[in-house]
């Protein structure tokens, strides 16, 4: 079996939540694997991250370099190539940084690449992995030839990590192998998302709409229901892409993280990037005209219906009940 590495991101010395999940993925490839953490950064911030990784990794490779204070994928790729031996398997979290780093890194490492992996197992020919296609409507098994190494990006949350006792690992300084670093892309600044007119993180009930709402003119029926319920309207990515609602209304990994009590998912297919923004185990009621929509796999209650008819009727019924109770 090749040597297995896990690239670990960190910020302000706090390591990514997914670090422990990469260890689980590594042991699925090789049960006897002791994956090595690869950590890039600069100064005390990096030392702090490496120190916390000693609890979960037997070996932590620290790459300290002035140019790596901000994680620029091109610079990190160059730094990793200076220390990772040919033929290695490198695991990376499939997030905005993994998408930036991993494909090009696999080319330079001359290894195979597979992204957004949900499960994996060893095979005589290499690895067999499970991943989703078509926004989660179907999944596929893929076989990967890892004979010349591989870069594998892992979906956050797919590999549940148990709480293990600390291993008290060692930190190995690898910075000396990295020479001067320069990139054709330079980080300037991070612009924080605008808060928007309605704070969807503050509502107990969210009426959330997806592509199934079909048209900007139909957003009003969701708003009417929300008004009647004392709820807010949130949405999935396609609604923002189509400019039907502001970005501040989007639930998901590239939008807001919300913790409602009830989530009314209307015409939302249920892609994982969307579900990643739903925390606190809300009660999910899904309405979708496609009985095979992935949202029905994670919802508590599902209704196959035309939401353009269902929502107005639901609104009317709630209004009737208010009128009755007011009398």
């Amino acid at each position: 079996m090749p040597r297995i590495f896990a690239y670990i991101g960190h910020k302000d010395s706090v390591i990514d939540d997914s670090a422990a999940e990469l260890i689980v993925a590594a042991t699925k490839i090789d049960p006897s694997a002791a994956p090595v953490a690869l950590v890039c950064g600069c100064g005390a911030e990096l030392d702090g991250a490496c120190n916390s990784l000693r609890d979960s990794f037997a070996e932590v490779w620290k790459i300290n370099h002035d140019a790596l204070a901000y994680p620029n994928a091109e610079l990190i790729r160059k730094a990793l190539l200076a220390v990772v031996p040919a033929g290695s398997v490198v695991l990376i979290t499939h997030d905005h940084f993994g998408i930036d780093l991993a494909p090009g890194f696999s080319i330079k490492l001359n290894g195979a690449f597979i992204s957004d992996v949900l499960d994996l197992e060893p095979k005589a020919s290499g690895l067999r992995v499970a991943r989703q296609e078509f926004g989660g409507q179907v999944s596929a098994h893929m076989e990967i030839d890892i004979s010349s190494g591989a870069v594998i990006s892992i979906r956050p949350g797919a590999f549940k990590a148990p709480a293990n006792p600390p291993v008290n690992g060692v930190v190995v300084d690898k910075g000396a192998s990295v020479g001067s670093l320069a990139a054709g892309r330079r980080y300037l600044q991070t612009v924080v998302a605008e808060s928007g007119d309605v704070d969807i993180t503050k509502h107990a009930i969210l009426v959330s709409i997806g592509r199934g709402i079909q048209d900007k003119d139909n957003v009003g029926i969701a708003q009417e229901l929300a008004d009647t319920l004392g709820a807010a309207v949130s949405c999935s990515r396609p609604v923002v892409d189509a400019k039907w609602l502001e970005k501040s209304r989007q639930v998901g990994s590239s939008g807001k993280t919300v913790r409602p009590k009830v989530y009314l998912a209307c015409g939302i297919s249920g892609a994982f990037q969307h579900l990643a923004g739903l925390k606190g185990n809300p009660f999910i009621i899904a309405i979708n005209k496609n009985p095979k929509a992935p949202i029905f796999q994670v919802a508590d209650v599902g209704i196959v219906d035309d939401l353009l008819e269902f929502i107005p009727e639901l609104t009317n019924r709630v209004r009737e009940m208010h009128t009755v109770s007011a009398k």
């Binding site: 091109e74 790729r77 905005h96 998408i99 930036d100 991993a102 494909p103 090009g104 696999s106 080319i107 290894g111 690449f113 597979i114 957004d116 499970a130 989703q132 078509f134 989660g136 179907v138 999944s139 596929a140 098994h141 893929m142 076989e143 030839d145 010349s148 990139a183 054709g184 892309r185 980080y187 300037l188 991070t190 612009v191 998302a193 107990a204 009930i205 592509r211 990515r237 396609p238 400019k243 970005k247 989007q250 990994s253 590239s254 009830v262 297919s269 009660f283 095979k292 029905f296 796999q297 994670v298 919802a299 508590d300 209650v301 599902g302 008819e309 269902f310 019924r317 709630v318 009940m321």
Partner: protein
């Protein structure tokens, strides 16, 4: 600015339910409606908007067969200057690395300042753009949601990162960018526009034309192969309400009251 957009024809998930064939070896492809991969369409629109500001041309390229010409024509109807089909039996069964290798051939054959791809296609790989950039030794940025042309050899791009935040970078040309949906509002393409480009000849380049080593592309070179498709079971699955609409509405109200404090 000379811009190349790499595009792909895919089953349109807004028009189709994707199901398995009876053998579980593939998705059911009979009667599927195909269209251009949605992020690729945003990439073409972005290219058109850049060229409208600073001049230049937009070339749309795809790797595939005759059927795939329709998306090239669609994007030409949108305003793209050229369409190019990269087609060769040796290309069949290529994995993402193979596709990037073929695309490298067209980049080397001509001169482009900027290469755009959609962030991902139907398989969600999000990989060809990053691979192509590494093969060319060009800088790369993924998940790009705005582009500003700074000067002749430089762009300012914004990337979509967590929580709706944006990471702003300066990037040297030539470079490869993978474009996120929502970056712009792609223009509508009418039948008239499609008809206007219906008879435009689309050049077709094979491995020989592109200088592509056929041992590095196609099914034999692929390090990644699909074994089968299956339907995932995540979680326990929803309790499906199968009453009349009125009954379902009553139940939903009851649940919202019990679980969400609806009064």
């Amino acid at each position: 600015m000379e811009i190349l957009v790499c595009a792909r024809r895919v089953p349109d998930t807004s028009e189709n339910e994707i199901t398995l064939n009876s053998a579980g070896t593939d998705i059911e492809r009979d009667e599927l409606v195909y269209s251009i991969n949605e992020p690729d369409n945003y990439a073409v629109e972005e290219a058109l908007q850049i060229v409208a500001r600073v001049g230049g041309s937009v070339t749309v390229v795809t790797v595939g067969g005759e059927d795939d010409e329709e998306i090239l024509r669609r994007e030409m109807a949108m305003g793209a200057t050229h369409g190019i089909l990269l087609s060769d039996t040796a290309f069949e069964g290529s994995d993402a690395r193979g596709i990037a290798t073929i695309l490298k051939g067209i980049v080397r054959k001509s001169h482009y300042d900027l290469i755009l791809t959609g962030v991902q296609a139907e398989a969600g790989g999000a990989q060809v753009g990053g691979m192509l950039a590494a093969m060319l030794d060009y800088p790369f940025a993924s998940l790009v949601n705005s582009i500003e042309v700074l000067e002749v050899k430089k762009l300012k791009v914004s990337r979509e990162i967590e929580g709706g935040n944006r990471e702003i970078n300066e990037i040297d040309l030539p470079c490869v960018l993978s474009i996120q949906t929502g970056i712009n509002e792609p223009r509508y393409v009418g039948m008239r526009g499609i008809r206007a480009v219906a008879s435009v000849a689309i050049p077709n380049y094979g491995a020989g034309d592109l200088g592509v080593d056929t041992s590095r592309v196609g099914a034999k070179a692929a390090k990644v192969k699909r074994v089968d498709y299956f339907v995932p079971t995540l979680g326990k699955g929803a309790e499906m309400l199968d009453g009349s609409r009125e009954e379902n509405i009553e139940k939903v109200i009851e649940l919202m009251a019990a679980k969400g404090g609806l009064k």
